[in-house]
Subunit: 296 residues, 2 copies
Amino acid sequence: MLARAGHDVRFLMRRDLAAVQARGLDIRSHRGDFRLDDVQCFASAEEIGAVDWVLCALKTTALGEARALIEPCLGPTTRVLALMNGLGVEEQLAGWIEPGRVFGGMAFVCLNRGEPGIVHHLDYGRLTIGHLGDEPRQLEELRALLAAAGIEVVAATRLRRARWEKLCWNIPFNGLSAAAGGVGTQTILEHPGLHAMAERAMREVVAVANEDLATFEHSDFLDEGAVVAAMFAQTETMGDYQTSMTIDYRLGQPLEVDAIIGAPLRRADELRIDVPTISALHALVDSADQRMRTGK
Amino acid sequence: MLARAGHDVRFLMRRDLAAVQARGLDIRSHRGDFRLDDVQCFASAEEIGAVDWVLCALKTTALGEARALIEPCLGPTTRVLALMNGLGVEEQLAGWIEPGRVFGGMAFVCLNRGEPGIVHHLDYGRLTIGHLGDEPRQLEELRALLAAAGIEVVAATRLRRARWEKLCWNIPFNGLSAAAGGVGTQTILEHPGLHAMAERAMREVVAVANEDLATFEHSDFLDEGAVVAAMFAQTETMGDYQTSMTIDYRLGQPLEVDAIIGAPLRRADELRIDVPTISALHALVDSADQRMRTGK
């Protein structure tokens, strides 16, 4: 959408590079299809060079590669938006990027990549953004940029709160979709035991989130009942949505288990909060991930 | 072993009938191989007729068939030993057999059936028996019969306590072996998260067991620490044992989820004990079982 709005957008591509060079980028969206015929796409970050903004949409399983991929694009004022899942991603980037230049983004969107050069945008499409230092002016600049391109964007006053809010969905639904053997959201909603387990996990996430936010002197806590009601109501409208973790599970690809479940679980341990359901999800998804990696 | 000791043992067989008629029964045991050349085996309970003892070793998933299979073998004094897993089996049999004639047995044994006519006895071999009414004389009669045939047998003063003690192993290890996608005990012991989840489930079982026993005015409670230490030490010696539930899972056969996890979970609910890990195991194994049955 930024490219469609006329911005100088340069894509770093792997699997889709040749297809997009040959045929452009095809977005099949429930909000209206569109295509980009002439896409600036590159095989390496060095070819892209320094930019104003880096939008990093790596899987968290590839977070270790982020520095080598991002550094060639950093100029003296470059800012970085981590459009990634999980807890602690921005903090890790801030280990080698000035923290004031690090932003986080959460995509509330159902999409899958299909054949090379085609993106299937199935449902939703909201972006919630935050700034690592929670500086309002910095955040407003990014919000305005994205909104002007037609993107549905919400600026979160508190990035960490927004991260936890997203985890309230991701931990139960991504976690269970993989733990139950690669199922969709409908299977979870329809099986009474899985439904109850998802709700229990969500309540545990809210408990950890609020304790965590308290340590950051945030006082805008999550309301457990409201979160559960809203998240389940939203999930009911998704059909049998295949979470990213279920898709990875079925394809035998690495699972984003550490960023989505591992980091929040470590935080719960630090805060000495008992989270049996999150622990169970982590154990099952992590062991599934290990078996896939080792081929056993 | 009863047949080897000279008792008139009549086997009701399905899959193995023709093979055993042709070649006898071949037991390959870590305690010494033996074979029975001339086996009395039958295709129906009607052909067997009334007997002194019925040894019922059905899977609990076939408990609904028990009555039709057992009734043709019942005479006026016939007693029935349920060599089955889970909680509540004897109580169900006592719905149509006089309770004083119902016994329960728990096999602490690692064995698999291989090709028809061959039994692989890999490890252990202890039978714990109890009487539904906990009558000592009745129990001693059965114990003596089995012991005289060379069977390692322990008479449990309290059948219900012995049932719970077995569940302390079966719920975590059978449950997790299926919930984690059909793994052996070694995978559970070696993965820190699965190991912790097994221990947590075991502690939850002990808590429910002791509350349940208290309602029956038993005072001989399970010692949580001792149970955990003993069960894990025993499991360490098993190698990568494939539980019955893991084998069923891999073969796509019905899982004994209700007797092993469902009935104890319902009891926990009745007693208002929070058992998040048992709930999680039940949800995951039950949904896996449903997907196998419906082919989804």
